[in-house]
């Protein structure tokens, strides 16, 4: 491809540009400096002078070809639109299943299961305050619970994202459901979301955590085991979303995410896995803020960086290793409690940025997220928003529609440079594992969060309905927190107690003892820890029992917080 660009710089550009600059300066008055959230200065106008046509082939190219700036597949959304994957989780497995079926009927086409915070933290329902059960996710503690959650879902045809931090018990329970339903494991598709343990130390201390060294071991085993048994499953989702929601700028979030991906890939390679065996199964998960062009440029730069990194650092030869696949979630932090219906407009803008950014899978937030867990009404609007953008708005007609924009191409270059600088900072700290251990990443994100909050408090950053255009609102018009039905939750707890009393205690004891033995083994022939967890789940062990066993054997991951 050596044809000249259609907008190669005409000779008169320089003169016209000088004239425009003079007119702009004369008419704008006091021109304030504009910077995006990542701190990149934004000019009032971008022209052919901002892009170098000689770099077209190497830097921009075509969809489906390295460096994939314009998309990782030749057809992108024109061929197949993104997966509509709404996070769902509330109450008991039966409540979850009803909401899931409703969302699948409304246009969702993939499963995402959010468990209760008690599950995230590694406990069974009989180990925590009963008030908190099921308020933020489904209380799923056993293989039976998972079977009820996924009742009626065809696991051979529906991609399932399990929000399943280490030690991946939800996947273990799901594999048991698949076995019961006669679905072969090699047909299962989906992702172990929340497998990125480093992000759990850095950002939202929300998940069950082993001490860093133990978490590292469980994840490496998980990736190895899935590579052997679940060829279509993505065992790793590296998460920038947590960090950006915690306050990292978009460039920091992407830079830290790549630094984590490098850490995980290095660990897998050190454990004897080949880069081309693991990298095709690495996926990413990002926040999409309302900083529209910045997010688009972030994703375009991300594809370029990953395509080079995988080849240059790991010598990957399989193009599937080079493709930067990501799920996007619209940013909850940008949503407001004030005038909550305005959030529908925010989510729409964020979602368009993600779509133009070339995502593979999308969750749109419900407008009521800043008030409580989404109501069914809110969840349906979030799904409809995606349906409208996909089928009414003609957003998918053209691949990478902003490619070639002087501004977007220039911003993509500048975001790339910023992200590479963040990655170099982490490298200088000794890599992501060390940078998290020392608190470096946490401090940096905390500083950025505070800077951003101060920009809102000072009014420099407008938030409609919060620091500008506030109106008196009728608080009673806001939705109440959708709480699980106490009678259903009580019955769920009674069922669970009965199940624990009636199962084969011998099987459970044997499986947990095998898990303990596996944690003690060392050397290349040691038992794969995740294999032992899958066996324990099938033997009737509960989530809390598996997590409790690992917590005792491998040590608990206390927060490494810096203020």
């Amino acid at each position: 491809m050596n044809k000249p660009l259609p907008h190669a710089i005409p000779a008169s550009t320089g003169e016209a540009n000088v004239r425009w600059s003079a007119e702009y300066a004369a008419q704008i008055g006091d021109d304030r400096e504009v910077r995006n959230r990542s701190g990149i200065p934004i000019k009032p106008l971008y022209t052919p002078l901002d892009v170098d046509p000689a770099r077209f082939d190497a830097e921009i190219g075509f969809p489906g070809q390295p460096p994939y700036t314009r998309g990782i597949y030749p057809t992108m959304h024109r061929g197949r639109t993104w997966t509509q994957r709404q996070l769902i989780g509330l109450g008991t497995p039966a409540t979850y299943n009803a909401r899931l079926r409703d969302i699948l009927d409304q246009g969702g086409n993939a499963v995402s299961l959010i468990p209760c915070n008690s599950v995230f933290r590694g406990y069974d329902m009989d180990e925590v305050d009963a008030e908190l059960l099921g308020t933020c996710g489904v209380v799923c503690n056993s293989a039976d619970h998972m079977a009820a959650c996924l009742d009626g879902v065809d696991l051979a045809r529906t991609s399932c994202a399990m929000n399943d931090p280490s030690p991946f018990t939800l996947l273990a329970f799901m594999l048991d459901t698949a076995k019961r339903n006669g679905v072969p494991w090699n047909a299962i598709t989906g992702t172990s979301n929340q497998s990125d343990y480093l992000s759990h130390f850095v950002a939202n201390h929300m998940f069950f955590r082993l001490a860093l060294a133990g978490a590292r071991r469980v994840l490496t085993d998980h990736i190895a085991w899935c590579g052997e048994h679940l060829p279509r499953w993505n065992p790793l989702s590296v998460v920038g979303q947590h960090m950006q929601q915690a306050g990292a700028t978009p460039a920091e979030a992407l830079g830290f995410t790549f630094a984590s991906a490098i850490q995980y890939a290095d660990d897998c390679v050190a454990a004897g896995m080949s880069p081309d065996a693991i990298l095709p199964r690495f996926t990413f998960f990002f926040d999409i803020s309302i900083s529209f062009f910045e997010e688009i440029a972030k994703f375009r730069a991300g594809r370029r960086i990953w395509a080079r990194l995988t080849r240059e650092r790991y010598g990957a030869r399989d193009p599937r290793s080079w493709r930067f696949k990501f799920h996007g979630q619209t940013s909850g932090v940008d949503l407001t409690r004030q005038q909550p219906l305005n959030n529908i407009a925010r989510v729409t803008a964020q979602a368009i940025a993600g779509i133009f950014g070339g995502l593979q899978s999308l969750h749109t937030d419900a407008y009521d997220e800043a008030l409580s867990c989404p109501t069914q009404f809110g969840a349906r609007i979030a799904v409809a928003t995606q349906n409208i953008l996909r089928e009414e708005a003609h957003l998918t007609d053209v691949i990478d529609p902003l490619g070639g924009s002087y501004y977007v191409e220039r911003l993509t270059d500048e975001m790339e440079a910023k992200v590479l600088a963040v990655m170099a900072d982490v490298e200088a700290e000794g890599g992501m594992y060390r940078a998290v251990e020392s608190g470096y990443v946490q401090r940096r994100i905390g500083d950025s969060a505070r800077t951003f909050q101060e920009r809102i408090d000072s009014g420099e950053q407008t938030v409609v309905g919060v620091n500008r255009y506030a109106i008196d609102e009728d608080a009673s018009a806001r939705p109440a927190l959708a709480k699980p039905d106490p009678a259903l939750m009580d019955a769920h707890r009674a069922d669970f107690a009965r199940f624990k009393a009636q199962r084969s205690q011998d099987d459970v004891a044997r499986a947990l003892a095998a898990l303990v033995r596996a944690t003690g083994e060392t050397g290349p022939t040691r038992t794969n820890l995740f294999g032992a967890i899958v066996a324990a789940a099938a033997a009737g062990c509960t989530h809390g029992e598996i997590c409790g066993t690992l917590r005792r054997e491998l040590g608990f991951g206390h927060p490494l917080v810096a203020v």
């Binding site: 998940f207 915690a246 409580s372 505070r450 806001r478 917080v561 203020v563």
Partner: protein, 142 residues
């Protein structure tokens, strides 16, 4: 008149299961810079630990951050504070708290609930004023 030499002492913490700490960290850092002595804990504190810390550190006020329904156990904290002899410590809650639950918290004795959109300076001013009242009630002659 506010006493310029008065320095409130507060505990910023999270109880329950959730660990999202962006809010608690920002508020703690801002209060520290606004002349408040801040005792900060990471997330996931037991209610018993919070009471013990409040007593040992002799704080005027406890700020509880809740973003994922952990505010539902704040009434348990209020009870535990009273039983632990720290019933005079003021408690504020900040985060995602639905209106119906805000009323429940105020009824349980929480001094104020801050929501997304409240300014850091507003929080700092309330902490100063409320802590001063708590301190004055402890040392009426001072």
């Amino acid at each position: 008149m506010p006493d310029p030499a008065f320095r409130p002492k507060v505990l910023i913490t999270k109880i329950g299961l959730d660990g999202h700490d962006r809010g608690s960290r920002i508020v703690a850092a801002h209060l520290r810079d606004a002349g408040v002595e801040v005792v900060y804990t990471p997330p996931w504190q037991d209610i018993g630990t919070v009471v013990k810390l409040a007593v040992e550190e002799d704080v005027d006020l406890i700020g509880v951050s809740s973003l994922a329904t952990d505010h539902l156990i704040v009434p348990k904290l209020m009870r535990a504070l009273r039983e632990g002899g720290a019933g005079d410590v003021a408690v504020i809650v900040g985060g995602i708290v639905p209106d119906t639950d805000e009323k429940m918290l105020l009824d349980a004795g929480v001094s104020r609930v801050f929501h997304p959109g409240n300014k850091l300076d507003e929080i700092a001013a309330f902490v100063h004023a409320t802590s001063a009242k708590v301190r004055a009630s402890r040392f009426p002659s001072a």
